[in-house]
Amino acid sequence: MNVLSGKIASVAPSGDLSLVKVDCSGILISVILIDTPDTATYLKVDMPVKLMFKETEVIIGLGSTHQISLQNKLDGPVTRIEKGELLSKITIQSEAGAISSIITTNAVNQLGLEVGTLACAMIKTNEIMLSE
């Protein structure tokens, strides 16, 4: 599991949902939750929170100018690659912290990923959990 620390920068509730933006070392990460400041009291600006998401939900791209719906894009160099027969684990050192991703080994080969490659880790807003 990837864990990043940050503090809440904004909360936009609508019905039962909220779009929460979390500031992780200056990078804003968006999270959608089935909670509002009424149901979860910690949803307040400046509250410290942890962001949690699985390695298997992190998408890897090259460059950072993708026309893509994903809101959370974190650039950084690849610092580690572990290749298995089917799956590989890539670690990217982003400004928000180290992020691991598990993608197919075929994808690693197609993208030509190596240690040092500048890559972009992307996470959908609905794949991130918050923890107080």
Partner: protein, 290 residues
């Protein structure tokens, strides 16, 4: 309504401890006492039952004084209208199920209640059997029925189901809940099982070293403010297998075996037999009509 103020010096494995608790319960409440061993849970049950006397304080039930240290009032256990169920069934081995229940009738009490309980607890088919021939779950059902024969107003449960396996436990919980509702009981349960506490009780006291740390609803206490995911279950790890750097963890949740893919960093502190929280966001699961 129960109003209790219980003060007593106790000796636990950790040494001396001052039990100091005050609480009240409405008729029909289902309360769980929760806390580590040595927190005073069983002592509280024993004081309510009259098996252990507080040094100071009082117990009043529906305005009647059961115990008062100041006036030296102390109603004996048999005059307190309560039933007690322990982990140990304590059935008479030489008596049949029916005889075990009848033995609990008080003098002059109508035996109709025994018939009613045999039906409610689904014991009819084993009325003439002796306890030795029953399974653990059946024995505990008999013990529960027997505790209800004197038609108590308060039911005290001291980890009564902790020796039973998951499915049996769940059935017994249903029987206890049915009895609680049908006889309009006020029930106090000692339990460590989170699922059980959430299912059974509407309020809980969190105890630590003889003091009440918190009074809360189980949903609030256990609602895992820890993570925001709305798809959360607790389970037990049955197996961990590794494929390259990926770990597949088999977790028993209730009666269902589920598998969770985990990273090396997740499994560092995990071993087979551990209780774990399995969480996902409400966005992920698919739902289909069966």
């Amino acid at each position: 309504m129960i109003v209790a103020a219980l003060h007593k010096k106790l000796w636990s494995s950790e040494g001396e401890m001052n039990l100091e608790v005050e609480f009240s319960l409405e008729k029909g409440d289902f309360l769980t006492l929760y806390g580590p061993s040595g927190a005073g849970k069983t002592s509280i049950l024993r004081m309510l039952a009259g098996l252990l006397n507080p040094e100071a304080g009082s117990i009043k039930v529906d305005g009647k004084t059961w115990f008062d240290a100041n006036t030296k009032t102390n109603l004996p256990p048999q005059k307190r209208k309560l039933g007690f169920l322990f982990q140990d069934y304590a059935l008479f081995p030489n008596m049949t199920v029916g005889q075990n229940l009848c033995f609990a009738l008080s003098k002059g009490q109508n035996a109709q209640i025994v018939e009613e309980l045999l039906d409610i607890m689904e014991l009819r088919a084993m009325t003439d059997r002796k306890p030795d021939l029953l399974s653990g779950g059946q024995k505990q059902r008999v013990a529960l029925a027997r505790a209800l024969v004197p038609q108590p107003e308060i039911l005290l449960l001291d980890e009564p189901l902790s020796a039973l396996d998951g499915e049996m436990r769940s059935r017994l919980q249903d029987f206890i809940l049915e009895a609680h509702q049908r006889f309009n009981l006020t029930t106090v349960l000692v339990s460590h099982d989170v699922g059980e506490i959430l299912k059974m009780s509407d309020t809980m006291l969190v105890l630590y070293e003889g003091k009440i740390l918190k009074r809360s609803t189980p949903a609030d206490f256990f609602s895992n403010k820890a993570v925001s995911g709305k798809f959360q279950f607790t389970g037990e790890i049955l197996d961990i297998t590794q494929q390259d750097f990926i770990f597949v963890i088999s977790v028993l949740i209730g009666k269902n075996l589920v598998k969770v893919v985990a990273d090396e960093s997740d499994i560092r502190n995990l071993k087979i037999g551990d209780k774990v929280l399995v969480a996902s966001k409400a966005f992920n699961p698919m739902i289909q009509k069966l």
